[in-house]
Symmetry: C2
Subunit: 192 residues, 2 copies
């Protein structure tokens, strides 16, 4: 039975994005954000929505830069911790044992242990209410050689990213089985 329900911000699956920034003194910080995604192909852009209450919000406004780091599933505990506490109270790199590495292209730190990171230059801010969208042009990518395929692109089966089940499950999941090739399995209907 179909039910009409109140509006909810439930997108399944939601990503687990670890945002890397520097504060005005050059101290690195990380936060965990699920409100984000790719927003343009040319120029390559990604967006992340952040509340003004966070340290990351102010860091990005000052440095006009951030990184988006994709944790593999083995960094579950670290990713959740980074979303639970503020960089104003904790040195999150120190507490997690993760290593900040300055991006060669933008003024933001990369999480060195994670399989890959997108290096972003702030190009637009859109204030929507509780959250401001920070739209970044992706100017480079840093990746572990072991997670790349033959075309030098991150292979999801090697990255082993997490996903978030949003408010209906309040839990993280890993990826499951390959269901079929994109721009391919749909041919069954096209050729009918």
């Amino acid at each position: 039975m179909k039910l009409s329900l109140p509006p909810k911000t439930i997108l399944l699956p939601s990503p687990v994005l670890i945002i890397g920034t520097y504060d005005p003194d050059g101290k690195p910080n990380m936060m965990n954000a699920a409100w984000g995604g790719i927003v343009s192909s040319k120029p390559p852009c990604i967006s992340v929505s952040i509340s003004e209450a966070t340290l990351s919000f102010h860091n990005i406004q000052q440095t006009e830069a951030f990184t988006i780091n994709i944790p593999s599933e083995k960094y579950l505990v670290e990713a959740d911790f980074v979303g639970m506490v503020s960089g104003r109270e904790y040195d999150k790199f120190k507490e997690t044992g993760l290593t900040p590495e300055k991006s060669k292209l933008v003024n933001a730190p990369i999480v060195n242990e994670y399989p890959y990171s997108l290096e972003c230059k702030l190009v637009r801010q859109v204030n929507l209410g509780s959250h401001t969208m920070f739209i970044g042009e992706i100017v480079g990518m840093v990746a572990d050689s072991e997670i790349l395929n033959a075309k030098q692109l991150p292979d999801i089966e090697k990255v082993r990213p997490m996903l978030w089940g949003s408010f209906g499950s309040q839990a993280y999941y890993n990826i499951g089985e390959k269901l079929g090739e994109s721009f391919s399995v749909g041919n069954k209907l096209k050729q009918k």
Copy 2:
């Protein structure tokens, strides 16, 4: 070994969003989009980035409304097909056998067979180059009663959504195992 690579629009995992719209004659259309995500909590907003070449782009500009429909994994072939062909050449509802149901809240069709749909009212457009972000306020949600948890929220284990492995794998995957509770497993580090 860490490699510095050219910028890529690879977010893992990427969602599989089926966008529902009406054309000026009231004919329903669907497209498959991976460039999107939640962008604000209050008001609840979601964004999807679409190229001007698509019929959906013009439909949203005219109706100022769209739905975001989350397919379960059993609709793999239909979801891929919807991303391969244009609504200018195909009646995608007819070809897939899926049923459009007019939203009670916005001027856009819901995909009736899918587990749940977000009903969106266009509130902002941001042109970024190849793609325009259509930011919609989520004004309602329509869901199958069977995929809801006790709090009337979509449960990812019942929805069984797909995810896209982006350009590094060019394939769809399902969700895997539950790794741990969010805002909880991180306590191991907080209480150190």
